[in-house]
């Protein structure tokens, strides 16, 4: 048994023993769980992939004369201005003004919120265009200026939902190709796509949220950030396998960090044909080895993690609940799986090499005493189910 304080003392003195969630599998196999739990202080987990529920708050400082922005566009991408005078929120999936979207199906979606966020982190120049109705103390009605992230007072990423604990596998049983956030799904189940780092993924290594909670220090695209809340749609009461690992979506994390400290390599605008734009992010989460049970959970391997295969042509949009089959990440990573006696090709939306790279970078930071762990201030809910939207009529009868 170790405490957070003891582990942090070891990290600070440069003596912490840190392994990635991939390395720990073999290590525990070799040494046995009790001996390994004595030795290992931290296991690093990571993931990299599109995370639509992401965005950032930006503060521009005041111009002379001042403006209270009521409508705003950054590189023609609308930002939310319904907060204070020169604060804006920019969301990852926001389309550029005049993007024809799926008017000419399937739309191309070349540029949007995620790409603006990438440009910010790359320290490239962007254009702010803002309008206002003018007030006595904020008389300016229009502003157009070029800026970079360094001109801003704050650029803080605030993501309502990242790091889905697990995710379904997408396919298409219909007779036409469909364009989804899981990529192009060819007709008659010719391909499957999945989106998880599997055995490296943060919440799959801590299935019951024993160490990852609100206040946990995380590595968000190179910046030191935190879990600030349970992620939206966090649902802990789900189907789990014997080892407690969810076989469906389950837990999520709301993350925040300073964008000025982020590395562009891990903040990437995403274009998904026929679907829209998004943002891919790299996240690393350290797991302190407080006891054997926590260590054992980090030894989970791809072959033990199951995901549900869902038909995105009907069952996903209609929420029918039908699952075609269960597949492990071990099977998926082989590149093809057999379904109903037929070979089906598999690809991934999540980057395992990038996740591995992040786990290594975080490991190096912890070893070098540059990244300390924080004890959660509050646990993530362990008894929560996900609600559906019930569409109901208003009093007047209209919807």
């Amino acid at each position: 048994m170790k405490t957070y304080t003891e582990i942090n003392e070891k990290i600070a003195s440069g003596k912490a023993v840190v392994l990635t969630a991939e390395e720990v599998i073999e290590y525990v196999d070799k040494k046995g769980v009790s001996a390994a739990a004595e030795e290992i202080d931290v296991v690093t987990t990571a993931t990299f992939g599109p995370m639509c529920s992401s965005g950032c708050f930006l503060n521009f400082g005041h111009s002379i004369p001042k403006i209270r922005i009521t409508e705003a566009w950054i590189d023609d991408v609308p930002a939310y201005a319904g907060i204070a005078a020169v604060d804006l929120f920019l969301g990852a999936t926001q389309l550029r003004h005049n993007d024809p979207a799926n008017m000419y199906y399937p739309g191309e979606f070349r540029f949007g919120g995620g790409h603006v966020i990438q440009k910010l982190v790359e320290r490239r120049e962007l254009q702010l265009f803002g309008l206002s109705y003018g007030t006595d103390e904020y008389p300016r009605r229009e502003i157009r200026t070029m800026f970079t992230i360094d001109d801003l007072n704050q650029a803080v990423m605030v993501n309502p939902r990242n790091c889905y604990q697990n995710y379904n596998v997408a396919t298409n049983t219909s007779d036409r190709p469909i364009y989804t956030y899981m990529g192009l799904l060819k007709p008659q189940m010719q391909n499957l796509t999945y989106s998880s780092a599997g055995q490296l993924s943060p919440l799959l290594n801590d299935p019951f949220y024993q160490t990852i909670g609100i206040g946990t220090a995380v590595w968000l695209a190179g910046a030191h950030g935190h879990v600030y809340a349970e992620g939206t749609q966090h649902a802990s009461v789900v189907e789990r396998t014997e080892n407690g690992v969810p076989a469906e979506g389950a837990g999520t994390l709301a993350l925040t960090a300073d964008m000025k400290e982020m590395l562009p390599e891990f903040v990437r605008g995403v274009t998904l044909k026929g679907y829209g734009v998004s943002l891919a992010l790299g996240v690393g989460v350290p797991i302190p080895v407080l006891n054997e049970q926590i260590l054992l959970a980090t030894t989970v391997r791809d072959d033990e993690i199951k995901a549900e295969l869902i038909d995105y042509s009907y069952d996903y949009p209609m929420k029918s609940g039908k699952v075609i089959s269960h597949l492990t990440y071990g099977q998926l990573k082989r590149g093809d799986v057999e379904i109903d006696g037929r070979k089906v090709e598999v690809s991934s939306m999540s980057s395992y090499p990038k996740a591995l790279h992040i786990a290594e970078l975080l490991k190096a930071e912890i070893r070098d005493g540059k990244f300390l762990l924080s004890e959660p201030l509050q646990s993530l809910p362990r008894n929560k189910k996900m609600k559906s939207m019930v569409v109901r009529e208003g009093e007047g009868g209209e919807v």
Binding site: T271, K333, S347, S351, K354
Partner: protein, 136 residues
């Protein structure tokens, strides 16, 4: 017999010359055109594979160059930018010839073999990160 894949770039004035005809007729080369875009109003591009003896290929390429066509033997019509690639692998099921492939099953790193590429361009709209682009 040697096979070589080349990218040719014509300026507007050259668009009407029957270059490929001469490669077959005068230099005894087997031609496999992967992709071409030659119109009267724009510069033209063609990606093709030439097969024949080393001597014939060399002379054929010289002939094309003498006619003012830029021949690029190193580059093909499809570019994979390693720095933009996030190694997700979404492209893999959209590449019919495994030109995009997993280099190492352990690390799952992605590689691109331009010699295998038939320039079907399927990968381009299936890369969320713009890592794959066409020269034309």
């Amino acid at each position: 017999m040697t096979t070589k894949k080349i990218l040719m770039n014509f300026n507007k004035e050259l668009a009407e010359k029957p270059i490929v005809y001469h490669l077959v007729k005068d230099y005894d080369l087997i031609i496999n055109i992967f992709r071409a875009r030659i119109t009267a109003e724009e510069e033209g591009f063609m990606v093709l594979e030439v097969s024949g003896t080393d001597e014939h290929i060399e002379k054929g390429i010289d002939f094309i160059r003498q006619n003012g066509v830029t021949v690029n033997e190193a580059e093909k019509g499809l570019r994979w930018d390693k720095n933009l690639c996030t190694q997700c692998g979404n492209c893999l099921t959209h590449c019919p010839v495994d030109a995009l492939y997993i280099v190492d099953p352990g690390s799952r790193e992605i590689g691109f073999d331009s010699d295998k590429c038939v320039e079907c361009l399927n990968c381009i709209p299936n890369c969320p990160y713009d890592a794959l682009t066409s020269v034309f």
